[in-house]
Amino acid sequence: MTAGHLLTSWLDPSLFAATALGTLAGIWIGAIPGLSVTMAVSILVSFTFAWPLEPALALMAGVFTGGVYGGSRSAILLNIPGAPAAIATALDGYPMARRGEAGAAIGLTTLASFLGGMIGVAALALGAPAIAEVAILFAPRDYLLLAVLGLLLVGSLSGESLAKGLFAAGLGVTLGVVGLDPMTAEPRFTYGSVALLGGIPYIAAMIGFFGVAEALAQLRLADAETVRQRIGRIVPPRAALRRHLPLALRASGIGVAIGALPGTGGDIAALMAYDHARRSTRTPTHPFGTGAEEGVVAPEAANNAAVGGAYIPMLTLGIPGDAVTAVLIGALYVHGLKPGPMLMIETPHLFWFTVGNLTLANVALLAFGLAGARAFARIAEVPRAVLVPLILVLSVVGTFAIRNSLADVWWMLGFGITGYALRLYGFQPGPIILGMILGPLMDASWRRAVIAAGDDVLGAAVEATESAISLVLIAAIVLIALRSFSWGKGRKALPPTPHP
């Protein structure tokens, strides 16, 4: 009987409208750098305070689904990821737009996001309790191993020189740990500044290194022709779908798993899926970094699959799978529910309502995504003389919006101008952001693992060999490292990431 609640949001016109509107709003929120889904959902908690629970949840699920997808729009059209989960999408999506294939890239992303989203929902519906139980078995050392696995991506993101990539990654790790150390309350790299105690948000770095640096770099070419977009075909041909389906499925699997882990979310899922695509695709449509379709399919399938994944521990155990589900748990409290392990037992209809609701949000995503693609693709045709100043204003206001901090805006500007200079010397922004995302996770997980073993590295290593999860992760790292070594011999053949 409770499974009948699957259809609640499809049959009730107001819930249907709330979900669809939420998805549409989410796409725009995701596309604007600096407006984050977390922020939107926490505002909705206050906004929907007096509403009944169902429409409030429907609206939030829509914003969540649409927002994760929307980040790819600005990544493809402007090379500015609208959200951290879309960083990987920019790497190949933007070169596609430069070729005049923005419409095709958006079409492909939409289908990949829809597929990933649906697989995420399916995993939630069919395997939630089991997946959640495995997810909580991940020990601090396993998060460390996961982060190391992610860091292997530096090899793919470095462009022409691995040394430059490593330097950038080290810089990113350093920037990521600025502020009060959460474990000892020791200030790091703050040099007495209170403003720095809270650290530097990596979204500010992302907007600086991608948004401002990219906008300035485009201005450098302002006399060049704007690229005419071929927008005849948005829905990819059937052959392309068949070709990318296996990869999209594997990427969705990565997304569900990473999303379900309480310590990681869609941003890491998308990066790891991109890395997987790069390593597993022998003959991409174009070389990676120059507009490979695989390079947009994998991260977009993964980050939307991570949405369903993140709901898994939230609905079954009351443990948030990422930052957005943490806010959703707060929303449940405010609406008088008790999010926790009993939620599914005492209010099972809520679980099935959410499953049905997320399905609806994904269908809405498909409809709005494809319908709006043509108009969106035209943004890439706006003359740079107008587009670049607009991007710069958006970067400033978006950075300010993260925490209402002017200091963050100055950091963002500094990153933008430094980023512009570093680009001239062949540095890529990717490894810096990767370092900022993974650095704090690695730092905390490593120290937690060592502390738990009595401040003994050897002890921690021994513990790792006694755990199946750790052994699997170690095997994956070794395997990938070995394969990238042999692949490294051939890397000269790879063209460097093109410069706009």
């Binding site: 020189s161 990654a169 101008i417």
Partner: protein
Amino acid sequence: MAEPAARPGARLLSLPLFAAALVVVLEGLRLGGLDSPSSPGAFPLLAGLTMAGAAVAIGLGRHAGPADGLKPLPGRVAATMALLVGFVAAMPLIGFHPAAFLFLAAAISLSRRRLSLGAVLIAAASVAAVHLVFRLAFTVLLPEGTLWR
């Protein structure tokens, strides 16, 4: 100096990079990076050493950066950077709205190399759109300017 398409200072660049790495290493040591594997300085130290090693490799390497035959910093880019810095500096003083409007009008006119009514209209419309989305929908309190208090 036989590498192709060397940018001016390509090799010199590794010096400030190495200096930056050194700053990180020093902070790592200050935080007890060598005292305990779980100290707050352990990771900064590791990151700093990686950066230092990479900086040396960059200094000895042959990759100078992509050559595209364009000026590294054309006047238009430098001017836009200056306008941008001015915009952010003026924002707390005169408020976001006037600062953003002036920046947009100036930067668009600069890129088009002429002052036009179009630039002014685009600037006004954009500021209005930002106000709508950020101030009204997202209740972000944009700086109002201390000058008008």
